[in-house]
């Protein structure tokens, strides 16, 4: 037990250090302020609509939908940008400014260092998501007079979607010398992750009789099975469309643990790739 505590002590201190440094990054703060402004603006826009339409239950629902649509899009876009930006930059920046030399010359293994950095990134991503979600919840609550508990499930799934992208962006960043390539890589992963579902169609439509066609079909099938499928997390939008006070439908509730495990499995895979790349990296 004591050995395990000792082992994780170093990563924990590195994670806190990463968090403290990360939350001060100007780009990140800029993204966060922008996203909060948009969420805040959605509330005012809905108020304006309310005045012009004369109010009432139907209008309140329309307002709620407007706020949800704007906020979900904002959280998805800015949250993902923050996730990619921070995941792509923490390791290359430390290599560039030589902090990694002073840390790795201490009794800290590369595995522990990466674990600390990755945990630190997740703390930043979670804090940003929590802040944006809190404002979102307040906006909905003020419009609909009901605490939208279901949105918390949606936020949870959003985090696991971010986690998958973050882990693979982090893995790319461990082989890079600057944050540019991993940032592009992160955006690419996000894009691919949302297109994985189409690979299934490609494999299903391939003609087994034609060699080239069959080969493309098999490759598409293999990619579909290995690449993360971010569309699986689209259930979160289904949750958003429900009445905020309604209970979570059973079929959605059953999927949540599987999606969490799915996200964690890909996050662990991303971390393993990151370590495999970093363990013999010449610094």
């Amino acid at each position: 037990m004591s050995a395990a505590v000792d082992y994780f002590r170093g990563p924990w201190h590195i994670a806190v250090f990463t968090w403290r440094e990360g939350i001060r990054k100007k780009t990140l703060v800029g993204f966060l302020i922008l996203s909060l402004l948009v969420i805040f603006a959605s509330f005012f826009m809905s108020s304006f609509l309310n005045q012009t339409t004369g109010g009432g239950q139907v209008e309140t629902e329309i307002d709620g939908k407007l706020i949800k649509d704007i906020c979900v899009a904002t959280i998805s876009i800015f949250g993902m940008l923050i996730t990619i930006f921070i995941s792509a930059s923490v390791v290359p920046n430390e290599v560039e400014n030589k902090v990694v030399y002073t840390v790795l010359s201490k009794p800290v293994r590369r595995m522990q260092y990466l674990l600390g950095k990755f945990l630190g990134v997740q703390m930043i991503v979670l804090a940003n998501l929590a802040l944006m979600t809190a404002l979102f919840l307040i906006a909905i609550y003020m419009r609909q007079d009901e605490f939208p508990k279901l949105l918390l499930w949606s936020a949870l799934l959003t985090y696991f979607e971010f986690l998958v992208v973050s882990a693979f962006t982090f893995a790319i960043s461990c082989s890079a010398t600057s944050a540019v390539l991993p940032t592009i890589g992160g955006l690419f992963i996000y894009l691919i992750g949302n297109l994985t579902e189409y690979l299934k169609d490609v494999s299903l439509r391939s003609d087994e009789a034609d060699f080239v066609n069959a080969l493309i079909g098999n490759v598409a099938s293999a990619l579909h099975k290995t690449l993360p499928n971010l569309q699986k997390f689209s259930i979160k939008t289904e949750i958003l469309d429900l009445n905020p006070g309604a209970p979570l439908p059973a079929h959605v509730y059953e999927q949540i643990p599987n999606l969490i495990i799915y996200g964690l499995a890909y996050a662990v895979s991303g971390y393993v790739i990151a370590y495999w790349v970093f363990r013999r990296k010449e610094l």
Binding site: D6, R9, G10, H13, I14, F17, R20, E21, R24, N97, K98, V99, Y101, T102, V103, L104, S105, K106, P107, V108, R109, R280, E282, L283
Partner: protein
């Protein structure tokens, strides 16, 4: 005196990606650093100093050869890492942190905590003369103060070995002198210091041994006294005409400097002192002073690197 760092046949080759020539950053380096000494690791840019240091710290990996630190081959082991402090050249420390917070972070990485950590932070801040600025944000630090905090983080675990990469570069003369005094004090307290530097005058003042590296190979290594054996004579005279200087130069006596109107002549070390004085007398020069002169580390460095360059081009 025990050996604390030893490399045998240590080599580092960077393979060319495009079928060009491989780059030999280090060629079969045999190096020892003894306990309790200041070892100056010298060489021009790109000679392999930082490559060696990075290999000692496990930041890059040798192509061939071995490294032993404190008698252990596993240089990543906790015992080795606990006993090494490293100050990289031009390292960055976050501006938003206070001096003591930086040290707390690095101390925690060594497993220090609680009262022991706080006591140690106070000790190292005292050691590097930064107690007065412990609660100040790093953004308010001068370059010299940042360098001292860098040294403090290297000292936080009270390591036996300190590896310092350019510890005085970019510092003003007063800060350099203060840093030199700190390093000398550390040596006097029994620490082993390996210093990579271009500030040869500084290094000569405090080092016990030195090694000069060029293109990945050690050109000269030894104690400062062993290395600086070339002693010659300087003769200070009132003045000399161009004609007289020409005559002296033919005999190997060359003007070295002019201080307050007096001319300093340098006599080659293979010339007898009496012969040199007789030559000056023949030329009717007014002698002011005669003094023995030892070659400086800077001169040795320039001469050694020049010789190595000549060898590599022929």
């Amino acid at each position: 005196m025990s050996v604390v760092i030893e490399t045998k046949g240590l080599s580092k080759i960077y393979e060319s990606s495009f079928r060009g020539q491989d780059v030999y950053a280090l060629k079969e380096l045999d190096l020892t650093v003894n306990s309790g000494e200041i070892f100056a690791y010298l060489g021009p840019n790109g000679s392999g100093k930082t490559t060696t240091i990075k290999m000692l710290l496990g930041l890059i990996f040798p192509t061939a050869g071995s490294i032993e630190i404190l008698g252990l081959k596993d240089i990543a082991s906790a015992k080795v890492r606990q006993n090494i402090g490293y100050l990289p050249e031009g390292a960055y420390y976050p501006d938003f942190l206070r001096g003591e917070e930086i040290l707390r972070f690095y101390g925690q990485l060594y497993g220090l905590s609680g009262k022991k950590l706080e006591t140690r932070i106070s000790e190292v801040l005292e050691e590097v003369g930064m107690t007065h600025a412990r609660r100040r944000m790093l953004r308010g630090y001068s370059k010299g103060m940042r360098q001292r905090i860098g040294l403090a983080q290297a000292l936080i675990s009270d390591p036996q070995i300190l590896i310092l990469d350019e510890p005085t570069t970019g510092l003003d003369p007063i800060a350099r002198k203060e840093m030199r005094d700190i390093l000398a004090r550390l040596r006097d307290r029994g620490k082993t210091l390996m210093i990579s530097s271009h500030e040869l005058l500084e290094v000569e003042l405090i080092s016990d041994r030195a090694g000069i590296l060029y293109q990945g190979e050690v050109q000269k290594i030894g104690t400062i006294d062993e290395l600086l054996t070339d002693r010659d004579l300087t003769i200070e005279v009132e003045s000399a005409s161009e004609e007289v200087l020409g005559t002296l130069a033919e005999k190997g006596i060359t003007p070295e400097d002019k201080i307050e109107g007096k001319l300093i002549l340098r006599v080659p070390n293979d010339m007898n002192s009496y012969d040199a004085l007789n030559i000056c007398k023949e030329q009717q020069l007014n002698l002011v002073a005669v003094a023995p002169r030892r070659e400086t580390l800077e001169e040795l460095f320039v001469r050694t690197v020049g010789e190595a360059q000549n060898r590599s081009t022929t």
